[in-house]
Each structure stands twice: as C-alpha cells, then as structure tokens.
C-alpha cells in the first residue's frame, strides 16, 4: 500500500505558518516534478489551499522522507516549523485523504469547496504524470467516498452563513424565490450581501430606500433596481415580499400598526422581514401578526448555530462511513497483491495442460467429439483440483499482513515468473467516476475457478 501524507493545515498551524508552505497553482507542476524525483517517491500530489498544504505520496519500497522534500523545496532549516507539520502513513494516510475529500477535516465541516480543490490538485498531478497508478486509485476512491458522504448524510445540506440562512428561510416561506421582490431599507454592506444571495436564488425586483437618496440610487443601480425616496417608505414596502432592514435609526422604524397596514395592502399575502440592524429596526411585535415573519440578526445566528450542531452530529455518521470505506480499501489493496500470483499460477498450469495434451494427441488417434470433450474435462478437472488449495490459501492470506510470504512460497513451489506489478484495481478514471465493483477487479480466470 505505502501511502504517505505530510503537511500543515488549519488544525496544526496558524495562517502565518501555512502561508509559508503555500504552493501557487502555477508552480505546482514544478513542485511535483521535484517531489517525484525524491528518493522512494513513486507518485505524489500537492493540495495547496488557504486552509491546508498537504502532500500525498506513494512510495515503492515503503519509505520516503517527505520532510526532506519540504526542507529542500521551501528552503527551511532542519527542525524549522517541525512542530506544525503532521504526518500519516499507510491506512492513516488513506483515512486522512478520505476525510479531507469528504470535508470532514475542513474548518467548516461539510463545506463543498475542498472537494473541488482536491480534484483540481489531482488533475494537475495527473496531467504532469505525477499520479498514475495506485495514488490514482486512492484519489478516485476518495472522490467516491466524498460523494457517498454527501449523499448518505445531511452534512452539507444546511446553510451555515447568515445570508444563506436568510435565503433558506425565504424559500421555506415562499417556495421558489423566482419573481419575488426584495426591499432594502438602508444601504449597508450586509443588506447588499443578503440581496445578492436572494437574487442568485431567483429574486427579481429590488427596491432600495435610504435616508440619503443618492446612496439608494447607487445601490439600486448595482442590482438594476429601483431607488425610492425615504418619505415614501411606508407606502412602498408592501410591494415587496422580502424586506431587509439595516438602517442606523435609534428606534424601530416598522411597528405593529405598520405591519397591519402592509398586510391589508397585500391582502394578507405573507411578508418576510430580515432585521440586521442594531439597534433593531423592526418591532418584534410585528412577528405576532398572521403572515409576517420577522428574523433579527440573533435569530439568524441561532439558525446558523443549530445547523452547525446538526452538521457535527452528521459528521459522526460520516466518520463511520469513512472508516468502513478505509477497511474496504484495505481489503481491496490486499486482494490486489495476490491477484497477479493467482493469475500466473492459472496460466502456468493451463500451459502445462495444453502442452501435455499436444504431446499425447498423436497416440490417442482420432477422437470423436464426445471423447474430445471428455479429455478436456478430465484434464481441466485435474488442474482445477490442484489449484484449489493454493488459490484459497492465497485468498485468505490476502487478509493477513504476512501475505507476502505465502505469495513467495506459492511462486517458488510452482516456479512462477518473478512478480509483475499488480494490475490496477480499476482503470485510471476521471474524478467523480465510481470505482469498479469487486467483481470487476478479479480477472476472469480467477472467477472461472471460484466454483471449486
């Protein structure tokens, strides 16, 4: 297996350290070229984002000094930054890669960006040939695991920012936001951000009301919206389905009696008020009115917190999923080690059988088709019976850490050719592609004999 991971991330190092390790995308190919020339490193890739710089590598002989690479490449002195660097080997490395891709190792657990970043790093490494066989399998599997985690847990389904929570709530009230109108009261940054999110989800018309009319006009222009003089505020607010308020007013500007008028003007169609001003712009009494929903900054924050809590709960399930996938990956890798031996054993005996048949064919004379079939069956039966025990032993040995000894013994006993590199578990695949299921990984010859 021989996988290695080394790096710094948001858990082990502060940003001033991480930035020293960063490898810009333009310099990745060069860094990868250096990495693969390091002694023992067969394949490698580098993931460099603002939260992590990590090197994934595979060695041929089970040893590689990635620390050496870090010192050489970044020009660090021996021991410098050592306390910030983490390392994983073998199954721990596999698990780490799975966790990173599934966003379980992220600062905001469940965020989707990291998967894209890993995929990008993988694409670059593949393009320069730094990733080609077993590391490829690991990454392909990691992408499949990430997809599984997203599909089978709700880790990424809830919003964890104020603006996205506002959108989520608006959608809970109005369904699709298509064609809905938004009124921005006050022209602050937060208003703008929330409006951008709402527009991205389909909101159409934007009205902006601000005490300084010029600022309203400027903001309205950004969204192709309509600026409205502040003295017409109460007449025009009922036009909007969603009202975002963030003025610097010292008192509430929307009170219950206003709400009643709005509802009357709208024939009781629901309204969603988002109050991000402190002190608050909207009297909480408005929320008591049938059809008006008021969320202030604390309410939104509370939703964010509860979603984060949900994510943490889901993360536990996701971790279990990852553990299971690591076990499966291990089992596959071990089977892959014995497969070449089984295949060459079968080929070897088949060659012997054919040769012996050819040798005696002259003495047998002309055989009827039935006799021909009987001879075939007889000889095949014999070699299958002979192969049965070695194959089952090899297969059970695959689950044993000492499997290499058994493989050697079988090879010696049957005088098989020196071991060829294991065939890939699955053909090199594009990201997102599912790794072939177990059956596909076992060559047909092995399958053929499984009935014995």
């Amino acid at each position: 297996m021989n996988y290695f991971v080394l790096g710094v991330n948001h858990k082990t190092a502060p940003v001033q350290v991480r930035e020293r390790f960063a490898v810009p995308e333009s310099r990745l190919p060069e860094a990868l070229a250096k990495l693969t020339t390091l002694q023992g490193v067969e394949e490698g890739m580098i993931v460099s984002t603002c939260n992590r710089v990590e090197i994934f590598a595979r060695s041929q002989n089970g040893h590689c000094d990635l620390q050496q690479f870090v010192r050489d490449y970044f020009g660090f002195k021996a021991g410098e930054y050592e306390q910030y660097i983490f390392q994983h080997e073998q199954l721990d490395a596999v698990k780490h890669v799975f966790r990173v891709a599934s966003s379980l190792d992220s600062m905001v657990v469940g965020e989707s960006q990291i998967l894209g970043q890993v995929k990008e790093a993988y694409a670059i490494a593949r393009a320069v040939g730094a990733v080609n066989s077993q590391l490829d399998q690991l990454l392909t599997r990691a992408f499949a695991v990430a997809k599984k985690v997203r599909n089978e847990t709700t880790i990424a389904s809830s919003s964890v920012s104020i603006a996205s929570v506002a959108v989520e709530l608006a959608e809970k009230i109005f369904g699709s936001l298509n064609g809905k109108s938004v009124y921005l009261v006050g022209a602050g940054k937060m208003c703008e951000l929330a409006a951008r999110h709402l527009i991205a989800h389909g909101a159409k018309k934007i009205y902006v009301g601000n005490r300084t009319f010029d600022r309203a006009v400027t903001l309205a222009e950004k969204f192709d919206g309509e600026a409205i003089p502040f003295d017409r505020l109460y007449d025009t607010v009922p036009w909007a389905d969603i009202v975002i308020s963030s003025t610097g007013a010292p008192h509430a500007i929307f009170r219950k009696e206003h709400g009643e008028k709005f509802l009357h003007a709208r024939k009781n169609r629901p309204m969603f008020f988002i109050d991000i001003a402190v002190p608050r712009d909207i009297d909480p009494g408005l929320n008591d009115l049938d059809g008006i929903f008021v969320y202030n900054i604390d309410d939104l924050q509370q939703v964010v917190q509860s979603h984060l809590g949900d994510r943490r709960k889901e993360a536990v399930r996701a971790e279990a999923l990852v553990d299971e996938e690591v076990r499966k990956f291990e089992a596959r890798a071990q089977t892959a080690e014995v497969v070449p031996t089984i295949v060459s054993l079968q080929q070897h005996l088949e060659t012997l059988r054919q040769a012996e048949l050819d040798r005696v064919r002259g003495r047998l004379g002309t055989l009827s088709p039935e006799q021909e079939m009987a001879v075939e069956a007889l000889t095949r039966g014999i070699i299958n019976k002979i192969m049965h025990t070695p194959i089952t032993t090899l297969k059970s040995a695959a689950r044993d850490p000492e499997s290499t000894t058994v493989i050697d013994v079988v090879r010696k006993l049957f005088n098989l050719r020196p071991e060829e590199p294991a065939p890939p578990l699955a053909p090199p695949a594009q990201p997102e592609r599912k790794v072939a299921v177990d059956e596909a990984e076992t060559p047909a010859l092995v399958k053929q004999n499984q009935k014995y």
């Binding site: 709530l169 809970k172 009230i173 109005f174 369904g175 699709s176 009781n268 629901p270 049938d290």
Partner: protein, 271 residues
C-alpha cells in the same frame, strides 16, 4: 372476498398510520422503509376490493355508504401519494392517515347492508350525487389539511425553531396555494353533488326533505365552505383565521357524513 381485501388494506394503512405518528416524534427513519411499500400495497388491495365489489354486485353497490366511505379513503390515499411524489414529503401523513385508516376501518367493519332500490329512475342521479360528493369531500379535506399544515409551519417559523417534521414540509406559500386550489376545485363538486341529491330527495320525499339532519348539516357545511372562499377572495384570509374556519368546516363535514347513520331519509327509508 372484497371485504377481505379491504381488511388487508386497512391493516396496511395501519402501518402507514404508525409510521406517520413515529415521524411526528422524529423517530420514523426505520419504519419509513416499510411504510411506503405497505401503503402502496394497501392501495392496490383497496382498489381490487372496490373493483371486485362493482364486478360482483354492480355499480349501484358502490353508492352505499359503506363503499362510498371506502372510495373516499382511496381517493384521499391517492391524493396523498400525489403530494408525496410532487413535494417529496410525507409530512401531511400525520393528518391524512388517521382519516384514511378510520374510513377504511369503519368500512371494513361495517356489517349493515343498505340497499338502494336500483329500479328507481334516479339511479343515475344517485350515482352522480355520490361520485361528485365523494370527490368534493376529498378536496375539502385536502384544503383542511393544508390550512392546518400552514398553521403549524407558520407557527414554527415564528417561533424560530423548525422541527424536522416541519422542515420536510413544502414551503408555506406552496401549502397555501395547494389548499386554495383544493377549495376551488372541491366547492363546485360539492355544490352540484348536493343539488343532485336535492333533486332526488325532492322528487321522492317532497319539500319536507329539508328538515332531515343530514340535509341540514350538509347545507351548513356548504355555507362554511362558501364563507371560506369568500373571505379568501375578499380579504385574503390565510393562516389562523382560515385554519379555524376550515376546522369548523371539517367538523361539520364529519357530522354531515356521519349523519348517514341518523338520517332515515338518506338510507332510503321512507320518513
């Protein structure tokens, strides 16, 4: 045999009911896997039971109270399936399944046999009366369920703590539109259904049929639904007020349906 199928369906709907209750208590994850196929199978048995009844005893048998109950349950189950497929949510099950179960249960238990003299020239009228009313009842029940869901969801949005049951519901406005459409669709069916019934009753029993409890309750129910529609049109009533009114309408409609057991007239026993 039709009765056996109906009883099997009742048991299967029971599974759905149990799941709906577990879901309310946020514990329906496992039962969900059994509930959906159980309800689906239940509907198949239910359908077979109705078809077999019609095959064995003719369509006139379907207009008896018992089978009308059974047909109403099946229509409601179909509507629920439609909602489930459209909105990918089983949240309304908590409100819908008790009724489906009760209707099939009562229909599967009921031993009494009410026969209608099919020789009556009004046979067609009665069939029409029953069909339109069963559909009307189903639609009005749907609008009642919608108004309750609307109330629950809007309350949760106001309290700022959505339970997982509520968070799986469709959006507030979608629920609202659904209820309104059901009301719009159900009301005309109910109106012509009641008119057809009145024509038959007038012919058979004369003007005195008005005083029958079933008739009075039906008229009251019709009035409530008219009010619901009117307040919606004129003032856009939604949420609390609409839900209260719809609840009163539902209670009256249950009594109006149940009045079959009181009304001599509706059982075609001459007054």
């Amino acid at each position: 045999m039709p009765l056996l199928w109906l009883r099997v369906a009742t048991v299967l709907y029971g599974v759905g009911l149990i799941h709906a209750i577990l879901m309310l208590r946020q514990r329906g994850e496992r039962s969900g896997r059994i509930a959906a196929p159980a309800v689906g199978l239940g509907m198949v048995f239910h359908f077979v039971s109705l078809v077999e009844t019609a095959g064995l005893y003719g369509y006139s048998e379907l207009v008896t109270i018992r089978h009308a109950e059974s047909a109403l349950a099946l229509i409601i189950a179909l509507i629920f399936t439609g909602l489930y497929l459209r909105y990918k949510t089983a949240s309304p099950a908590a409100l819908i399944f008790p009724l489906i179960f009760l209707l099939t249960f009562s229909s599967a238990l009921s031993q009494h046999k009410v026969t209608i003299s099919t020789s009556s020239i009004f046979g067609g009228w009665i069939l029409f009366h029953v069909c339109t009313l069963v559909f009307g009842y189903a639609m009005l029940f749907l609008s009642f369920v919608s108004s309750l869901l609307y109330l629950v969801l809007s309350r949760q949005l106001k309290m700022k703590q959505a339970s997982s049951w509520a968070s799986r519901m469709p959006a507030l406005q979608e629920i609202d539109e659904l209820g309104y459409k059901a009301l719009l669709l159900g009301f005309p069916f109910m109106t012509i259904g009641l008119l057809a019934g009145s024509v038959v009753a007038e012919e058979r029993f004369g003007a005195s049929f008005i005083m029958d409890p079933k008739v009075l309750l039906s008229v009251l129910m019709w009035g409530i639904y008219l009010t619901l529609l009117y307040t919606r049109w004129s003032a856009g009533w939604r949420g609390r007020k609409a839900a209260y009114l719809a609840s009163v309408g539902f209670v009256v409609s249950v009594f109006a349906w149940g009045a079959n057991y009181l009304s001599r007239l509706h059982r075609f026993i001459a007054p």
